[in-house]
Symmetry: C2
Subunit: 182 residues, 2 copies
Amino acid sequence: MTDDLKLKIKQAAVEHFNKDGYHGATIRNIAQDVGCSLPMVYYYYKSKKELFYEIIKKDYFDIIARQANMLRITNLLDFYTQFVYQINHLSDYDKKVYRLGVKVYLSFDGDVELMEIMDKWEKNILPRHYELIMPHLKTQKDGVVVVRTLVHLMENLIESIVVKGRYISEDEIREELSIILQ
Amino acid sequence: MTDDLKLKIKQAAVEHFNKDGYHGATIRNIAQDVGCSLPMVYYYYKSKKELFYEIIKKDYFDIIARQANMLRITNLLDFYTQFVYQINHLSDYDKKVYRLGVKVYLSFDGDVELMEIMDKWEKNILPRHYELIMPHLKTQKDGVVVVRTLVHLMENLIESIVVKGRYISEDEIREELSIILQ
DNA sequence: ATCTTTCTTTAACGTTCGTTAAATATATTA
DNA sequence: TAATATATTTAACGAACGTTAAAGAAAGAT
């Protein structure tokens, strides 16, 4: 209820962390954007670091998990095209959170603790897609290489959308993925 | 001669900009690492911003240009495998400069002026590779899509090496690129 | 109506930042 | 050697930072 101020603070924080980075963003500017006094930020979050942590640990991984729990595969190419394409249509807030997550993933922001979480997550990426893809792979290609290449290409496409702020059409995505998926 | 202090300052700056980002890095820490007093940084660089600019505008684009001016193509796959693989063996300093450049390229650091330089550069990437690749493309595939996909995959591989600090073997690179180059 | 809890602000704290003025040392030139 | 130019330091400036103490306002409970 009144905790909608807490939410607005987090949203403004996402905005500022995005624009100026962790060190460049200031609690004062965040509070000013929200229209509340500076100590209100400390009323809801015990420090700047905790505010950043909540954004990454909760919001970012929520988006990632939501995306990972997508519907089952019928057609490999269709599935992965949608997997990437839908990111175009995330809310502005989610896109900014995603961008912050990528920044931590690339160790451009965050600290050791967040990097460890990212590393653990990253280790699951290839195996997870391998399990998804292998049953549907028709060709005699080396599956491990196909999965690795696919994941690398998708990482770049998602980065374009979420970090550089581009829109990539469904056709473009399908064209590129189809080269790898045969 | 004595300008080797200027160089040492820039090298320490690259280190700190890399570790802490533009806002997180401080002139004081840079000077301390070099072993000189703080104002010496201002003796050679008129501001923190100018120091960052020189690293990106001079050093980063030097690396990029050096890489772009590589030997001519005989075999497409060999060429691009080497194109990516050699990045593993850049000097530590060059890798850090490269990492900073990628950070600006992704608009995680820098300002409007640097972004414009990056945008202008980025516009040339696809056409340049298109001209390189097209004469050597044996298949009937759509060349534009192949080039785009290749560049996207390479961007991800280079980012892994330079930003995440991974080493990627020649075989791994060739395996992935060969999926796209036939 | 009073008491208590929750929300919010004013005002300041100590620290650190980018930057510069002024003085000093070192080297170069005459 | 005296004069000049270059290199370097000490010390400080004002501004902005993250954070907190203390007090006031609003809301809820008794």
